[in-house]
């Protein structure tokens, strides 16, 4: 049977939990006291290694203090800096908005021109004869008129001759 301290008992002892039984056992058992002492010494070496690694000369710490101070003062200005950025952006947006407002009259003129063009197209479509043939139509109408006039004159002269014969 193993009469030595268990892992849990040694760990509890290392955490500072003091138990009479463990205390008495360590006083009499060489193997367990060596195990506890070894663990304590190893953890102590571990602590020393970190303390030694974290050792820096005064200039290092002063430099760090300076860096922290600089960054802290920069961060003090940080919200103000953003306030400026927002303000400038607002001014720019307003300026852009204002410079774009005169555009509507130009748009209205374009709309009017479009309306005129549409009306012209509709007029062209409503014509019986295409615009290119309009002179031909005029010539034909003149010719018809002349012919009509000739016929009337001939009829009149025929009627006059008949009256004379009578």
């Amino acid at each position: 049977m193993n009469n030595h301290l268990s892992e849990d008992q040694i760990t509890e002892w290392m955490l500072g939990t003091r138990d009479d039984f463990v205390s008495r056992h360590l006083a009499t058992c060489h193997a367990c006291s060596v195990a506890v002492e070894k663990l304590r010494s190893t953890i102590s070496c571990f602590r020393d290694s970190i303390h030694a690694a974290a050792q820096r000369d005064d200039s290092y710490w002063r430099k760090q203090q300076h860096a922290i101070r600089e960054h802290a003062s920069a961060r003090d200005w940080y919200p103000l800096h953003w306030a400026w950025v927002v303000a400038v952006a607002m001014v720019l947006i307003t300026a852009i908005f204002l410079t774009r407002t005169p555009n509507p009259p130009q748009n209205k003129a374009t709309e009017d021109a479009d309306k005129v063009l549409l009306q012209e197209v509709q007029r062209d479509l409503a014509r019986e004869v295409p615009e290119a043939l309009a002179p031909a139509v005029l010539i034909a109408e003149e010719r018809n008129e002349i012919l009509t006039n000739k016929d009337t004159q001939q009829t009149k002269s025929t009627l006059k001759k008949r009256r004379e014969i009578k």
Binding site: T11, C45, S49, I50, H51, A53, A54, Q64, H71, A72
Partner: protein
Amino acid sequence: MVQNEQAAVLIPIQEKAGLGMTALDDFTPLVRSHQQRIYRVLLGMVRDSDAAETLTQECFLKAYQRRASFRGEASVGVWLLKIAVNLARDHRRSRLREFWHRLSSSFEDVADLEQRLPDTHASQERVLLGREEVATVWSAVEKLSSQQRAIFILRFVEEMSLEEIAEVTSLKLGTVKTHLFRAVHAVRQRLKGGRAGE
């Protein structure tokens, strides 16, 4: 006593900040008195001197920005350690950053830490054995969760009481004890494994 004095240093800072006066001059002594401890804890947690340096600065900058939220319930040291532990935890969580750090060879510090044993040991053989054991403890600590690592470092490197650790980690005393128990158990198992292999 010392902690109360430090807390007293911070309270005027808040008052001055409220009045629009410069708080930065009063903050510098606070940095001076705590920076070494904060750096040491961070170095133990991240095992990278560059990262520990950056995080130490970040810790004090956060403290400076949040100085209005400090109510003096805990000591300034505990308050700063709380910020530092959270920063280290976030740093560890960022695996990508860790990966790039490894690549950029800043992780070479890790090996250095084991060599930083003070030469007060009796024999050269003892020093070598000590370094080997410290390396084993480091590898065991590396495998602990961030929470357990922080608790282990605060207990055995900073020699803080369990109550103080509970304050820093915002955990219950029983939870701190459980984490510490598991951490020590893991380290012991690792040491036993190392010795068995010798």
